[in-house]
Amino acid sequence: MASAPENEKNASAPEKKTLTLKSMINNEEFVVDEHVALQSVTIKNMVDSDCAGDVIPVPTISGEILALVIEYCKNHANPSASEDDLKKADAGIVAKDIYTLIDLVLAANFLDIKGLLEVTSQKIADSIKDLPHQDVREIFGVENDYTPEEEAAVRAEHDWAFEGFP
């Protein structure tokens, strides 16, 4: 975001404030402008209640994912970005494999970033929509906790939905 410093000149705050986010998974650190980081409601609450030190530790989110989250926040903190630009940028961020997307949706949920949560959820929904449930189990690492009888019962529950439809 080369344009970020220029935008800052117009801002009323004379001094650019930054926050450092640190991934507790691999100790990677990211220095970001405060207004960028504040798009996370979780971080905003920490800052507002003076709980944030110089370095904000982010548990359970890897550096790789945190970088994506920050990219999203930077894009959306840029007031000159058009809606089209943002859409394209969002599409780029979520154009990842399903495993990265699951990490990303968890991160968006933890950091409470509504827009990112929405685009990521939608992307995951689109990816799993047409998958057989066995594949979904494998991808999500979900253990099948049904007994064969229960599974048959669940299937029977929805059989009507397929009747008469190809």
């Binding site: 949706v105 949920n109 189990r137 099948n144 669940v154 008469g164």
Partner: protein, 228 residues
């Protein structure tokens, strides 16, 4: 970093709220197909009331259903057993409804259908199953729907039904009993008591097992079109 073990650990952070959010874009078929079979937590998420708050029937095989919006015709799939709350929800969003086709209403109670009828002042046409106690419904229609003109009954049409029609809806333009078994004399009862038989433009009885077609025909001579 995407090794299996760390991934399974992270799955446990995937709480139901996130799953529900992911499922929010699913339509009725996607919600009721594979995802409930993944595991019990997914089934729970797929059944979350948030996902069923809006009952979008537009994916069912009908060109007519579109909710929300100012729709005039609403046709439910014959296998879809709508509940009272779903019917009320639908009625509130289709105030201008003129035609309702609802072949299955075993799960609808008297209060549910009456509340819906009260909201549908413009209702003109109804396709309904045979119900055990029809007078209250006919009365409700007569009271609320000034332009009501067409009734199609699917299921046995007995003398109580005929009497209810005579009492409350004597001026139907179309009465279709094509999918009915008519009890002997019922159609005569209705047609015979019409003060102005010409008001019935079209009475359809054909494939129904009707033991008294001949006399019905006679009674319905005034009708402009009689299909048998």
């Amino acid at each position: 970093m995407e090794d299996g073990s760390s991934f399974v650990r992270r799955w446990e952070d995937m709480d139901i709220d996130i799953l529900v959010r992911i499922f929010q874009s699913f339509d009725i078929f996607e919600l009721t197909s594979g995802i409930a079979q993944v595991c019990s937590a997914w089934r729970l998420a797929a059944c979350d009331p948030l996902l069923w708050k809006t009952l979008d029937l537009s994916v069912l095989k009908s060109n007519f259903i579109k909710i929300p919006g100012n729709i005039l015709t609403l046709i439910f799939h014959y296998d879809l057993y709508v509940r009272d709350d779903q019917l009320t929800y639908t009625a509130e969003r289709c105030r201008q409804l003129k035609r309702l086709v609802m072949p299955a209403w075993n799960r609808i109670k008297k209060t549910g259908i009456c509340m819906a009828i009260q909201m549908w002042e413009d209702l003109e046409s109804l396709t309904m199953p045979s119900i055990s106690n029809p007078p209250y419904l006919m009365e409700e229609i007569a009271k609320n729907c000034k332009n009501f003109a067409e009734l199609k009954i699917m299921g046995p049409c007995d003398i109580i039904f005929a009497c209810a029609l005579v009492e409350y809806l004597p001026n139907l333009k179309v009465l279709s009993l094509r999918c009915s078994t008519i009890w002997n004399g019922c159609s005569n009862h209705y047609l015979g008591t019409l003060e102005e038989p010409r008001s019935a433009k079209y009475i359809s009885l054909s494939p129904s097992r009707n033991p008294s077609t001949a006399c019905t025909k006679k009674s319905a001579q005034g009708a402009r079109r009689f299909n048998s």
